[in-house]
C-alpha cells in the first residue's frame, strides 16, 4: 500500500517525457512564407560583444569568438564585418618599388584605391617610352657627331703624339717598329733596320751617338705610351658626361609629366626623381652597340641585352594591394593562415642555379589584403601553423606588416633576400575557436590579453519559449532558403524544433549548433526529394533523424545484441540482493547511446572501507572515485554515528572492460551497497541513474534520454512486462525529450519513469520496502530498509569489537606463555 503510494508519487506521466511543439503554434503554411532572418539567433551575449568590439577603435580590441564548433561563429563574424565594412572607405593601394639607394630594401608606396594600377601602367609606359626616347637621343646626329668628335679628338691626340715622335725619330735616322708584343725604336737606313754588322761597322763615336738617340726616342715613346690609358679614361669620362647630358634631356620631359600627375604623392615624386637619376646614370645600358664590329663587343651583346632588360625592370611597379575594384573595407577570411599567407612573402626565381629575387617578387599576405578592414582567422589553424601566431601578434603589436622570409629567419636557405619596407597596419581581427583555446591562450600567452580584449562567447543552447520557437522557425526557414532546400511545412518545423531540443539534451532549450541543424535540414530535403515531395514534412525530418541514427548505431546494436544473448549479463525481471542495473552513456562521434551495466556490491566485516574496484585497477576516473567516497561519507553519517563503521564493501561494474568516468552511477552503487548490507533483494526490472550527495539527495546527471532509451530497448526486445522502468533524478525531468516509442509505452503503462529526489525514495522503489524515517532517538522503524541496514552495521561493529577483544586476550596469554618458557 505504502509502496504503491511511493510509485504514484514518483511516476512521471507520458506528457512529462516529451515537450512537443504544437505545429498550430505557427501561422505559416511552409517556411517559404517566412521572412528571411538576418539577425543572429540565440546569441545575445556574443552579439553584444561583437557590437562592442566593432565599435571600439582602440588598439588591442580585437575579437575572439569562443564557443563550440558549429555554432556559426564564423558566419556571425562575417556578417557583422561585412555590414560594417560597407560603410567604410576603400583602403589604399600599396605598391613596392625599387630602392635605388639600397636595393635590398624595396620601398612601399601608398596610393588611393585604384591608383596603384595606374601608377604601374604609367611606369610601364614610361619604360617603353624611355627606350625610344633614349634610342632616338643616342641615334641623333647631334649625339653621334659629338661622340665622334670626342673620340676623334682622342685619336688625334694619340696619333699626333705618335706622328710627332715618328717624325722626330725619322729626323734622327731611326724609326718606330712594330714588334709582335710592342714597339721598338730602331736605326734605319733606306727603309730597313740596320743589321748588327752594319752597326758594328760604324765608327765608335757614331755608334754611341746612335745608341743615345735610340735611347732618347725610347724614353719619349715610353712617356707617350704611359699617357695613353689616362687619355682613354678622360675620353670615357667625357663620353659618359655626354651620355648623361643626352639622357637627361631625352627623358626629363617624360618624367616631368609623371611628376605632375603624381604631384600630390611626395613618395612617388621622390621615386621618380630617383628613377631619372638612375636612367641617366646607366644610360649606356640603353645604347645598342650596332656600330661595333669588335668580336668582343659582339660576344658581350647578349649580356648587354640582359643587362638592359634588368635595368628596365627596376623601374617597374609591383602593386601588392590593388583595391581598384573594391567596395567598402575588405573582409578577408584566410583559410590557410600559414606564416607566409599571413604576412606575405618574397618569392625566388632560379637563375643559373642560384635563387634570385627582387622587389617584383614580393607577394601580399592576408594582413595586406585585409589592411584597412577586417580579417577572420580560425584560431586553431593559426596556432597549428609554425610561427604564424607569433607573426600575427608581432604585426598587431607593431601596427605594421613587415615581410620577413621564414627561410632566412631559420637560416634554412642562404640566398639573396629582401627586407621590404614595412607597411602600416590598421586592422580589426576576429579569431574564432573553441573555448578551451581562448582560456589556454589567456593563461599561457601574456600578450594575448593585450591583443584580443573582446571575447564574444557563443552559447550552445538558447531558451525554448514560444517567442523563441517562432524565431527558430524563421531561422529554419532561412537556413533552408540559403541552402536552396525545399521549404518545410509546419509539422516539419515543429519536428525540427523538437529534435533541436533533444540535441540540446534539454526540453527547455534549443541547440544553437547551426551545423547540426543544417545537416538535419539537408538530409530531410534529401528524403523529401526522394519521396517526390515539394515540401519537407515531419516524416521527412523523422526519416532523416532515423537514418542518422541508423548510420551511426552499429556499436549500440552489437551491445544490445550481446545483452539479449546473455553475453553481457543484465536482468530485466526478478530480484537480486546487492545487484542493480546502472546506466551509462557512450559517445561515439556525434552519436550517443545508453547502455545498462550491472553494478554489484559485496560486504564483510572490516574497518569502514568502501573499495571501488574500478579505482583500484585504475579503470575509474577521479569523478567516479569521488562518487564512491561520497557513498562512504553518506553511510557513515547516516548509519554509524555512534558506532564504528565496521564494514568492508567492494563495488564493481560487472563486465566493464573500458574506463569509467562520471558520478552518474553513484546512486546505483549506493542502492547496491544498501541492498548488500540489508540483504534486501532489488527489483531487476528497474534501472537507475543519478548521483548522490553526502545527505542522500539524488542529483542531476547528463544523457538522461539516452540512458532511459538504452534500458527501454533491452526491455522492449525481451518483452515489456509493465513492471520495468527507470529511476532518474527529479532534477533531470526538464531534460526529457524521449523517443516516441518510449513515450507510447509509458502512456500504455508498459514502462515507467520515476523521478526520485532522495536515496530513500529510490531504495523504496527498488526493494518494494519502505525506507523508514528515523524517530526522535534516531531509530528506524522495524521492517524498513534503513532499520535493516542499521541493525546489520551494529552487528558488524559488535562482531568487530568482540573479535578485537579476543585478539587482545589471545595476545596477552601468548606473551605470558613466552615469558614462562623463558
Amino acid at each position: 500500500m505504502d509502496n504503491h503510494n511511493e510509485h504514484n508519487k514518483t511516476r512521471l506521466s507520458a506528457a512529462m517525457l516529451y515537450q512537443a511543439t504544437d505545429p498550430n503554434l505557427f501561422d505559416f503554411e511552409t517556411t517559404a512564407d517566412l521572412e528571411e532572418l538576418t539577425d543572429v539567433v540565440g546569441q545575445p551575449r556574443a552579439v553584444d560583444a561583437m557590437e562592442f568590439g566593432m565599435g571600439i577603435q582602440q588598439q588591442g580590441y580585437n575579437i575572439f569568438a569562443l564557443g563550440p564548433t558549429g555554432t556559426g561563429k564564423q558566419d556571425v563574424i562575417r556578417r557583422f564585418f561585412e555590414q560594417e565594412a560597407e560603410s567604410h572607405a576603400v583602403p589604399s593601394d600599396w605598391c613596392y618599388v625599387y630602392n635605388f639607394k639600397d636595393r635590398h630594401k624595396p620601398k612601399a608606396i601608398e596610393l588611393p584605391a585604384g591608383m596603384g594600377i595606374e601608377f604601374r601602367d604609367d611606369m610601364d609606359d614610361l619604360i617603353e617610352n624611355l627606350e625610344t626616347a633614349l634610342a632616338s637621343a643616342f641615334e641623333s646626329e647631334e649625339y653621334q657627331t659629338r661622340r665622334q668628335t670626342i673620340m676623334e679628338e682622342f685619336k688625334e691626340k694619340q696619333s699626333q703624339a705618335f706622328e710627332e715622335l715618328q717624325r722626330q725619330a725619322q729626323s734622327q735616322g731611326t724609326a718606330l717598329i712594330r714588334t709582335p708584343a710592342g714597339l721598338a725604336v730602331a736605326p734605319i737606313r733606306d727603309g730597313e733596320v740596320l743589321s748588327p754588322e752594319e752597326v758594328q761597322e760604324l765608327p765608335e763615336e757614331e755608334e754611341k751617338r746612335l745608341e743615345e738617340k735610340v735611347q732618347e726616342i725610347q724614353d719619349e715613346l715610353q712617356d707617350i705610351l704611359k699617357k695613353v690609358p689616362s687619355w682613354q679614361r678622360e675620353m670615357r669620362e667625357r663620353l659618359n658626361e655626354l651620355n648623361r647630358e643626352m639622357a637627361n634631356f631625352a627623358i626629363a620631359g617624360l618624367l616631368d609629366e609623371l611628376r605632375e600627375t603624381y604631384a600630390d604623392f611626395p613618395k612617388v615624386v621622390e621615386h621618380l626623381d630617383a628613377v631619372q637619376e638612375d636612367v641617366v646614370e646607366h644610360a649606356e645600358h640603353f645604347l645598342t652597340q650596332n656600330g661595333q664590329q669588335n668580336p668582343l663587343a659582339q660576344a658581350m651583346q647578349g649580356e648587354a641585352q640582359q643587362q638592359k632588360a634588368r635595368s628596365l625592370r627596376r623601374y617597374e611597379v609591383n602593386v601588392v594591394i590593388d583595391n581598384s575594384e573594391s567596395e567598402g573595407a575588405p573582409v578577408v577570411y584566410e583559410d590557410n593562415p600559414t606564416y607566409q599567407n599571413l604576412i606575405g612573402r618574397v618569392e625566388h626565381r632560379a637563375q643559373m642555379g642560384a635563387l634570385m629575387t627582387d622587389f617584383r617578387l614580393i607577394k601580399a599576405g592576408a594582413l595586406h589584403r585585409a589592411n584597412g578592414g577586417y580579417l577572420i582567422l580560425d584560431a586553431r589553424k593559426v596556432l597549428t601553423q609554425p610561427y604564424a601566431w607569433e607573426a600575427l601578434k608581432r604585426a598587431l603589436q607593431s601596427k605594421e606588416i613587415r615581410i620577413e622570409s621564414l627561410g632566412q629567419m631559420l637560416s634554412l636557405i642562404s640566398t639573396i633576400s629582401l627586407e621590404p619596407e614595412a607597411i602600416p597596419l590598421n586592422i580589426k581581427i576576429a579569431l574564432y575557436g573553441e573555448r578551451m583555446l581562448y582560456y589556454l591562450l589567456w593563461q599561457l600567452d601574456p600578450e594575448f590579453a593585450d591583443l584580443f580584449k573582446v571575447q564574444a562567447d557563443f552559447e550552445d543552447v538558447m531558451a525554448r519559449d514560444e517567442e523563441q520557437q517562432q524565431i527558430y522557425a524563421r531561422l529554419i526557414g532561412s537556413l533552408a532558403k540559403r541552402g536552396e532546400l525545399l521549404p518545410l511545412d509546419r509539422g516539419a518545423v515543429a519536428r525540427v524544433i523538437e529534435r533541436s531540443a533533444r540535441i540540446a539534451g534539454d526540453a527547455e532549450k534549443l541547440t544553437t549548433h547551426a551545423r547540426d541543424l543544417n545537416d538535419l535540414l539537408r538530409e530531410a530535403h534529401f528524403w523529401a526529394k526522394k519521396h517526390a515531395r515539394d515540401v519537407i514534412t515531419a516524416e521527412d525530418v523523422q526519416e532523416a533523424i532515423d537514418q542518422q541514427i541508423h548510420r551511426a548505431d552499429r556499436v549500440r546494436e552489437r551491445m544490445q545484441e550481446a545483452i539479449l544473448r546473455d553475453t553481457l549479463l543484465i536482468d530485466t525481471d526478478g530480484e537480486q540482493v546487492a545487484q542493480v542495473n546502472g546506466l551509462s552513456v557512450l559517445q561515439l562521434g556525434n552519436f550517443a547511446f545508453g547502455k545498462p551495466t550491472r553494478i554489484t556490491a559485496r560486504t564483510r566485516l572490516g574497518k569502514g572501507e568502501v573499495v571501488d574496484i574500478e579505482r583500484e585497477v585504475e579503470l575509474g576516473g577521479p569523478i567516479h572515485s569521488k562518487g564512491v567516497l561520497i557513498l562512504s561519507g553518506f553511510l557513515g553519517a547516516r548509519y554509524a554515528q555512534d558506532t564504528p563503521l565496521s564494514l568492508f564493501a567492494s563495488l564493481v561494474f560487472e563486465q566493464s572492460y573500458g574506463g569509467i568516468e562520471g558520478d552518474s552511477a553513484s546512486a546505483a552503487e549506493l542502492y547496491a551497497l544498501l541492498s548488500a548490507i540489508a540483504e534486501a533483494p532489488i527489483k531487476q526490472s528497474l534501472a537507475v541513474t543519478g548521483s548522490v550527495n553526502q545527505h542522500g539527495q539524488v542529483q542531476a546527471i547528463g544523457g538522461v534520454n539516452e540512458k532511459i532509451e538504452g534500458f527501454f530497448d533491452i526491455c522492449q526486445a525481451r518483452g515489456l512486462t509493465g513492471e520495468q522502468g527507470v529511476l532518474i533524478p527529479k532534477s533531470n525531468v526538464k531534460h526529457l525529450m524521449l523517443r516516441e516509442d518510449v513515450v507510447a509505452a509509458v502512456e500504455a503503462g508498459d514502462f515507467h519513469i520515476h523521478a526520485v529526489e532522495t536515496v530513500d525514495e529510490g531504495i523504496a522503489l527498488l526493494t518494494a520496502m519502505p525506507a523508514g524515517e528515523p524517530d526522535e532517538e534516531g531509530n528506524y522503524p522495524e521492517g524498513s530498509i534503513n532499520y535493516l541496514v542499521r541493525q546489520r552495521l551494529i552487528e558488524l561493529a559488535e562482531k568487530r569489537r568482540a573479535f578485537s577483544e579476543d585478539q587482545k586476550t589471545g595476545a596477552e596469554t601468548g606473551a605470558e606463555k613466552g615469558k614462562g618458557e623463558a
Binding site: 685619336k155 694619340q158 696619333s159 705618335f162 706622328e163 715622335l165 715618328q166 725619322q170 724609326a175 718606330l176 717598329i177 712594330r178 714588334t179 709582335p180 708584343a181 710592342g182 714597339l183 721598338a184 725604336v185 730602331a186 736605326p187 734605319i188 727603309g191 730597313e192 733596320v193 740596320l194 743589321s195 748588327p196 752597326v199 745608341e211 735610340v214 735611347q215 725610347q218 715613346l221 715610353q222 705610351l225 704611359k226 695613353v228 664590329q293 668580336p295
Partner: protein
Amino acid sequence: MNHEKREPKIQRILVALDASPHSLAALRTAGELAQHFDADLLGLFVEDLNLLRLAGLPFIREIGIFSAQRRRLDGAAIERQIRVQARRAEQSFTVLVERTEIRGQFRVARGPVTTEVIAAASDADIVIVGKRGLTQPRGPRLGSTVRALIEETGGITMILQNGATLGFPLVVVYDETPLAEKALNVAVELIAREENGALTLLIVAPDKETCQRLQEKAGTITSNLPLTVRYRQLSKSTAKKVADRIQMEERGALILPGNPPLLEDKAVLSLLTKIEAPVLIVS
C-alpha cells in the same frame, strides 16, 4: 654580253697577313671577293727581316703597348713570336678556305715585307693589305708597301681597315687616264653580281666639255648593267678638292686610279689613312 672582253679578269687574289685583327678582317673580305670572282686566294705571311735584325742590336728595347714596360729583345723569343703569329694566320686562313670552299694557298716568306709582298704580287690581280688602326702608330712599312705595290705592280691594291666590307655605292674617281677606265671596269666587275648595285662616278677633268665626254664614255660601259649610276663632275679641280668631294659622298668602297698627281697629293694621302671604307687603287 661584252663581259668576256672586259679587263681585268680577276683570277688570283693575294692577301698579306699578319696575326692582327685588321689582317684577319682583311682575310674575311678577301674570302668574299675570291668567292665573288671564283678566284684563287693566296695567303702570304712575311717573317719580317727587320724584326729579326732588331734583336741583334743590343741597345734596342721593346716597349709594351699597354704596359709601357721596357723589355730586352731576345732573338730566340722574337723568332718564336713570329712563328706563333704565322701559325695563327695560317689557321685562320685554313678555316676560311674550308668554310667557303675556295681554292686557297698559304705561304710563309722571310725577308723585308715590301720586297716579299711585291714579289708575291707579281702574279696576283688584286693585293689586299690590312691597314693599321689609328690607335697604333703607323710605321713606314705599310705606306711604303702600298706605294711600292702601286708603283711596281700593275694590279689592284686594296687597303682594308677594320674589316670593312665593300658597301655601296662604290665611288670611282674617273679621269682621262687609262687607269681610270680600268678602275671603272673593276667597279663594274665588283658590282656585276650584286642586286641593286649603285655607283657614283666622280668625273675629274680640266674642263666641262671633257667632263661631259667622259660621262658619255662611262655611260657606254655602264649602260647595259642594272645599276644606279650617279655622276659628279669636277672640272678644274685640284687633288685636294677631289679629296674633299670624296669625303662628302655617301659611299661604300673607294676606287682610285693610281695616277701620280692624285696619289702624291698630301690631302689625298691623309684621306686614305683616315677613310674607314675599303680603298682600291688601280695601277
